[in-house]
């Protein structure tokens, strides 16, 4: 059980790059969970649980895309494959990354941190934030781009300092 809850976040991180929207990622995660539960008995204890779940999630992502084939999918299938392969090879340094990110967010200037809080509160999109602030959407997107980039760089540095391979 503990395994399961711990892996949720990791799975979410795995899924997100392939679907882009928060809502879609959550849906795929739910679907994945259903399969995980139903196939629970097939898992070999002692082997890599997260990897096993990822494999399931990967299939769910593709199933999701097929289900929504009428919608335009932003990325091509080959690319999604590539992403999945790449992400599968990532290290399990989730704790470290999470802590690093937390610290990095703490280091943002207040305005930026508030923007992040707003943006990622449940159900809020970039446009919503723009409306709230009375700023043009494009400018808000740019701000988020900048903040995300900065955070990404910061996390990398933290991990490098901590000696973890990136």
């Amino acid at each position: 059980m503990r395994l399961f809850t711990q892996s949720q976040r990791a799975l979410y991180l795995f899924i997100m790059p392939m679907v882009s929207s928060v809502a879609d990622a959550e849906e795929v995660l739910q679907e994945t969970n259903v399969v995980i539960w139903s196939k629970w008995s097939q898992f070999q204890p002692g082997t890599n649980f997260v990897a096993w779940c990822r494999a399931i999630a990967r299939l769910e992502v593709f199933r999701f895309r097929r289900k929504r084939a009428h919608r335009v999918h932003l990325l091509g299938d080959d690319v999604v494959e590539l992403i999945a392969s790449h992400a599968s090879e990532q290290k399990n340094d989730f704790e470290l990354r999470r802590d690093a990110l937390a610290e990095c967010v703490g280091k943002l200037r207040d305005k930026d941190r508030e923007l992040i809080q707003k943006r990622y509160s449940v159900g809020c999109s970039g446009d919503d934030v723009a409306n709230q602030l009375g700023r043009p959407a494009n400018s808000v997107y740019q701000s988020f781009g900048r903040i995300r980039r900065v955070l990404m760089e910061c996390v990398r540095r933290r991990l490098a300092e901590a000696g973890a391979p990136i």
Binding site: R9, Y12, L13, I15, M16, P17, S20, S21, A25, V72, L74, L75, G76, D78, V79, L82, I83, H86, A87, Q90, R97, R98, L101, A102, E103, C104, V105, G106, K107, L108, R109, R113, I116, Q117, R119, Y120, S121, V122, S125, G126, R135, P136, A137, N138, S139, Y141, Q142, F144, G145, R146, R148, R149, V150, L151, M152, E153, C154, V155, R156, R157
Partner: protein, 758 residues
Amino acid sequence: MTHTTGTHNPLQGGEGAEDRLSELLELANLYCEEQLSQDQAARLTQVLQGDSQLLAIFVEFLQIHAQLAWDVGHGVTAAAPETPAASAPATRPAPAFAAVTPTRSRPLTEGHGGRKHLRSAARSLILMFGLAAVLIGGWWLTRPDISIGNGASVAENGTESRPPVDGVDLARGADRTGAVSAPDLLDGANSDRAMTPLELDALKQQNRIASPHADSPQTDSPQNPDAALVAEDTAVIVPDDDGAIVERINTLLAKSWEDNGVQPSPRASDSEWVRRAYLTLTGAIPTADEAMRFVSAAGERNRGALITQLLDDSRMVDHLAVTWVNLLIGRSNPRDVDEDALFAFMRGQFEDNKPWIETVGELISAEGRSDENGATNFLLAHLNDQATPATAVTARLFFGEQVQCTQCHDHPFARDVHQDQFWALNAFFKQASRKVIPVSAPATNGESPGRNRRVWALEDSTEGGMTFYENRRGQQIAVLPAFAGERLSKDDGLNRRSELARLLMSDADRRVARAMVNRMWAHFFGAGFTVQIDDMGPHNPPSHPELLELLTTSFVKSGYDTRRLMRWIASSDAWQRTSARGATNTDDAPATGTTPLFSRVYSRLMVPEEVYDSIRIAIHSVSQQPVRSSIGTQHRRQWVRQFVESYGTDENDERLEFDGNISQALLMMNGVDIESAIPLAVQSLIAPSGDRRPSVSDCLKRVAVSVLSRSPTESEDRAFRNRYRALSRTVPADQALRTSLEDMLWAYLNSAEFSAVY
């Protein structure tokens, strides 16, 4: 991490990688915001497939997004600063966060693969000139870094700390985060040519044309990051009414810079600015004397005064007229309309500073003979095939709207743009037709039509009636002329084009004003407020809606005064700044797809007319001969035509095939015998009749100022002297001097710096 791929173009080296990275991050960000268009998605797919390093970065970026969504959204908030002491502003710009290195000088070997490769030419001395060019380029590599704004953002003013936006440097590690961004001389131009970097600010600092009142370098680097936004030293003096508008422009832009966390590039040096001003306003570089005169004159009023002077100059009028003739009928003139008459008409309009809306009205409603009424040539060039090309061109040029697709279907992205609107606009042109006039018929003003050109007549029938078009379901739909909400009735016997012109004059929705503002802004800054300046609409939101609104309203209120509009833009604080990128605004590069912030002026390539005229001016400046205008000359027209490839489509599309490679262009310049003009010019320089001979360095300086409007750099000087000395061992001193000067002149003319407008 996966292996690196070999998709990098070795020629592009460092700069290409950074641009690709910027592009990727931009796309990834839009992906997170779910704002990716179809085209962008395709581009993103392409980028990710082609480069596994970028793919890895993409995944990382998305995972940051995912982590934030999970952590913040699920209440696992980031460590907010509970203890003010620990996270006080003073400690925040800790260098650990981002290694900013203000004084790191750029190592010679770093990332400059994009050196221009000189095409071979007939000149026997191409080797030496090639060497000179390489040396010139080499100098640019070694010059010290400019830490524009870096000192400001890290060192002082603890309350305004900000994590520098330098974080993009992922692909190359952290060592360059402090450096000024990679050169991008030609925003969006063929990057194979991008040998010469554009951090010309330091360049110009050193190489200002020596004057008693040199620009003080201190004014360029703001002491206080906030002051940079509305610095006194960038103010241009303008007449009062205009002053208020310019101030508003400055305020709006400053706000957008702050919102986006960038600092604008510093003020351009006078020599950078004077060249840009002449090129933008008159369509050619300043003569050496004009440049020197400007730089040596002192004072704040200098720039404002030059703007006023140039706005009144006949060259400005010519330049505007030529620009618009090219827009209206293109450069290749496949229909053989009377381009001279059209030019004369447009020139007259601009010379008298007629309200733009009236000019547009004239162009739409003109009737009569092509040689008598120049304005008719616009529609004559496009009337064809049920007047659909004319409709499309009219909408694109005057309303800034690309409607040609809506000929067949509703606009795919803009919800409110429908097929019937296209046809309703088209219906206005249905009465018009053109016919050829037999050449023997004399013109009513007594002159005979000249030059074997066909004479046309543009006439309207008086028939009213419905226009029919077929919608996607194959139904025939009837439509009456309608524009801006007003619909004409069926048979009122009106001349429809006149009616359209009349409706246009009211410009209730100010489309015409807005389109002109966007276009004019792009003319000055190198980018407009929308991705394509003639595709405005809900699907293409402007980057600065408030600013666009301000300028549009002001333009309307001024009575569509084109000159005033140009003055506002030219006097804005942003337009005083250099085109080089600083530390914080490296991503402000619309050519890579980002939204423009106008924190710097974007460079562009000269168009052929500008090249032609600038070459002539440069050579004449060397010999101090006056230059006669080349406007309207057959020779210039022919010279320009060689770069135009006509598509032969209904809409007379043509494409300009000019990548700025001048050596090729110069060689094609038959007639104006460049091969002999250069030696002659140099000869007059070194041995002027009567006057005493100038020194060797004065000669070099004259050449540099003539071509590039600046003094020679140290390495250029060195290259020149080496060449001179080497030659002097084998030939007489005079000949050695002549040859080395000619080489420098060629090298300068062939440099990327010359053919750029920045």
